[in-house]
Amino acid sequence: MALPVSPGLYLGVAAILYGIGLYTVATKRNLIKIVIGVEILVNAVHLNLIALSAYRWALQWMQEVYTLLYNFGYTDPATLTLYGGLLVSTVQYNPLFVDPLAHSIVMTSIVLASCVTAVALAFVVALYRHYGTLDVQKMRRLKW
């Protein structure tokens, strides 16, 4: 069985993408670019979720910690009764198993993000009708 590659690459790329998204939202003057920045932010998080669904290193780490605690005599019966079933059900780690929960989350979140983008673009159209420009600097009548 192949050992799972570290998810660090994907998590790092997601973090960099998130940074690019924040930079875009904070500095760009064009309204459309701000909306694109919001999309980049959301999609960076989606990448993070998908990477974590395939490489659940933390679960393996937790399982090791619990095993370690058990071996070193931390075998309180009340605790084991309470949390034993939990460990069996959730902390089973199989490197070839990709968790479908994250995928359903990402699909739902894509739909929500597209709704937000649609509303944002509607606002952009309305702003363009009022100001005749897409430049944020020229429409700062509110105290931003």
Binding site: N48, V65, L69, D76, T90, L127, M139
Partner: protein
């Protein structure tokens, strides 16, 4: 009763009535040529009234569950492990229910389509139902008020449909039993709120404020989703119940293990230090992400623009309940997933888990029960919020902008109450949350009446309007005094309880001086806020009439004055007799802090 679809009616019914409003509106606009007077308004009001009724029914269901389980616990004080639950499952519905109520001490209700941790879960406890009652009740009042206030607007079909969807989404946030369900309803709430802020799109101000709100809200939501993804990566589940067991107990076990001091303990200490950085990132993302919607100070800038720009009914909804949804989500995520610190937890938190404390500290582990101390971050944000909003509110000339800064101020009080983290502090925070929803809803609806009469939001144009609109202005004065904290009114009790809870907590922690400072700053901020509240009362009642006020010839509309008067009556009644709301807030705080009760049932 258990796993019953009727539990979801507070979410389903408003959506159903929103569809009905859209249908009736189409009939009204296209086919009947405007002959069905008030059809959409009546459908929307009926929808929210039916939803309020259902929220009330679910509250009484929960109350009876609690009474039953209390009686059983008094009669037979036994503890049966939660794993036995599975052995009762095949025996049938009623036996499961009886087990849940009598043995497990269930005082919450649950709806789930799939077994956790894979599925989406709705769990209703006293906190959820308290929030849902506030959301639906204020929604109903705003809907009645909007009949007259919005009468000259076009596109009212969409207005009422969006208002109903807003209420449904907020109820969904309150009822969510896992982080992702919460996030989905949070986004739906956000989308309808952005659209309602930009409702009058023919003016420049609502469109610009709405876009600003949307960009800030979307960035905040992406931060929340980032935090959710990291929590998912750490634990493999998003269910509140599982998360409450996983992270909290993992830390406690590791802490107890570390106290044994051996080489493996040093290795584990390294792992804990390495892992805790992730927890800090997650907590920061949660606080800032939910804080954007809750309008805590560094990320509050959308609020003073969005509130004046929105129609007044929507300002009341935003200020009264939508920003409270951010506070609720923050409290739920942080308190359940990351239980906070406390030295001598057996003294400070007698009412909270872990109940099996003697076994958890077999070697006399002397330190903290949990290493999470995000409540000090909340203290920091709360204090900054109090100072900045107090100063900014003094500078405003626009009445709705002043009220918006006053909302930020009260979010600061609520955050400080939550940051105390004891049952007293959290219940005081939720008590203040409800009181502020009542009073600030009143003030924004009153400001809407003034805007309706004078066409101006400038405070100088409103001077002396009290004699022209007596019912509204009397109620407005009552709401102002309630938020100021004048004793016979409801705001006094909640502010006093927040201050007292900080003082009560101080002797139990080494950082006691922090909590004394918090109490002092709360009192001072409350005193300073009298400056701008009293200015409003003075201008409206005791100043000479301005030209715009002299020009008013209309009489006060009863449809608009009545909801305001009802809210003012609530301020007075809950001020004189606060125990119903306070006991509800107390039960809500217990539900939030007693997550053991929560997780033994859902798992």
């Amino acid at each position: 009763m258990l796993s019953d679809i009727t539990l979801l009616y507070p979410i389903i019914l408003p959506i159903f009535f929103a569809i009905l409003v859209l249908g009736v509106g189409t009939l009204f606009e296209r086919i009947m040529n405007g002959k069905l007077q008030l059809a959409r308004e009546i459908v929307a009001v009926i929808g929210l009234a039916v939803t309020s009724l259902h929220v009330f029914l679910i509250y009484w269901q929960l109350r009876y569950l609690q009474i039953l389980s209390d009686w059983f616990a008094m009669a037979f004080g036994v503890f049966i492990p939660a794993t036995l639950y599975y052995e009762y499952m095949p025996a049938g519905y009623w036996l499961t229910f009886a087990y849940q109520v009598f043995v497990n001490g269930q005082n919450w209700l649950l709806y789930r389509a799939v077994m956790p941790p894979a599925g989406s879960v709705f769990a209703v406890d006293f906190l959820s139902i308290l929030m849902a009652a506030a959301f639906t009740g204020l929604g109903l009042i705003v809907c009645i008020y909007s009949i007259r206030y919005m009468e000259h607007d076009t596109g009212k079909t969409k207005y009422y449909a969006l208002l109903l969807i807003l209420v449904a989404a907020m109820n969904g946030v309150a009822f969510a039993g896992d982080l992702f369900t919460l996030f989905v309803f949070f986004e739906i709430m956000g989308i309808s709120a952005y659209t309602l802020v930009g409702f009058r799109k023919e003016q420049w101000e609502p469109v610009e404020a709405g876009f600003k709100y949307l960009v800030m809200g979307a960035v905040g939501s992406s931060m929340v989703l980032y935090a959710i993804s990291l929590i998912y990566g750490l634990t493999g589940t998003l269910n509140f119940a599982y998360l409450g067991t996983l992270i909290g107990t993992m830390i406690v076990h590791i802490g107890a293990f570390l106290s044994q001091m051996n080489p493996w303990a040093l290795f584990l200490a390294f792992l804990v230090l390495y892992g805790s950085q992730v927890f800090y990132i997650i907590i920061a993302l949660l606080i800032i992400g939910f804080g954007v919607k809750a309008a805590i100070v560094p990320v509050h800038t959308w609020l003073p623009d969005a509130h004046p720009a929105a129609p007044s009914g929507i300002s009341a909804m935003l200020s009264g309940v939508v920003i409270k949804t951010g506070v609720y989500s923050m409290a739920r995520a942080l308190f359940v997933v990351f239980p906070i610190t406390g030295v001598w937890p057996w003294l400070v938190r007698l009412d909270t888990p872990p109940y099996n404390l003697p076994q958890m500290f077999p070697t006399g582990f002397p330190g903290y029960s949990y290493p999470f101390n995000w409540n000090y971050a909340l203290v920091l944000f709360g204090v900054i919020t109090l100072i900045v909003s107090n100063v900014m509110a003094l500078l405003q000339q626009d009445i709705k902008r002043l009220l918006a800064y006053s909302s930020i101020l009260n979010i600061g009080f609520i955050m400080l109450g939550l940051s105390v983290g004891t049952a007293a502090g959290v219940s005081a925070a939720f008590f203040h949350l409800i009181n502020h929803a009542i009073a600030k809803g009143l003030l924004f609806l009153g400001a809407g009446v003034y805007l309706h009469f004078t066409g101006s939001r400038m405070i100088s144009d409103l001077s002396g309007i009290g004699r022209k609109t007596p019912i509204t202005s009397m109620s407005f004065a009552i709401g102002t005094l309630a938020l100021m904290g004048i004793p016979p009114l409801n705001g006094f009790w909640s502010k006093a309880l927040i201050v007292l809870s900080a003082i009560w907590y101080a002797p139990f922690v080494p950082e006691g001086c922090v909590w004394v400072t918090v109490a002092t700053i709360t009192v001072l901020a409350s005193a300073f806020s009298a400056a701008f509240y009293l200015r409003l009362v003075y201008v409206i009642w005791f100043s000479p009439e301005s030209d715009r006020v002299k020009a008013i010839s209309k009489k006060e509309s009863l449809v608009m004055a009545l909801p305001i008067a009802v809210l003012a009556l609530a301020c007075v009644v809950f001020g004189i007799y606060p125990s119903p709301i306070y006991s509800m807030a107390n039960r809500a705080a217990e539900a939030l802090l007693h997550y053991a009760n929560y997780f033994t049932g859902i798992i």
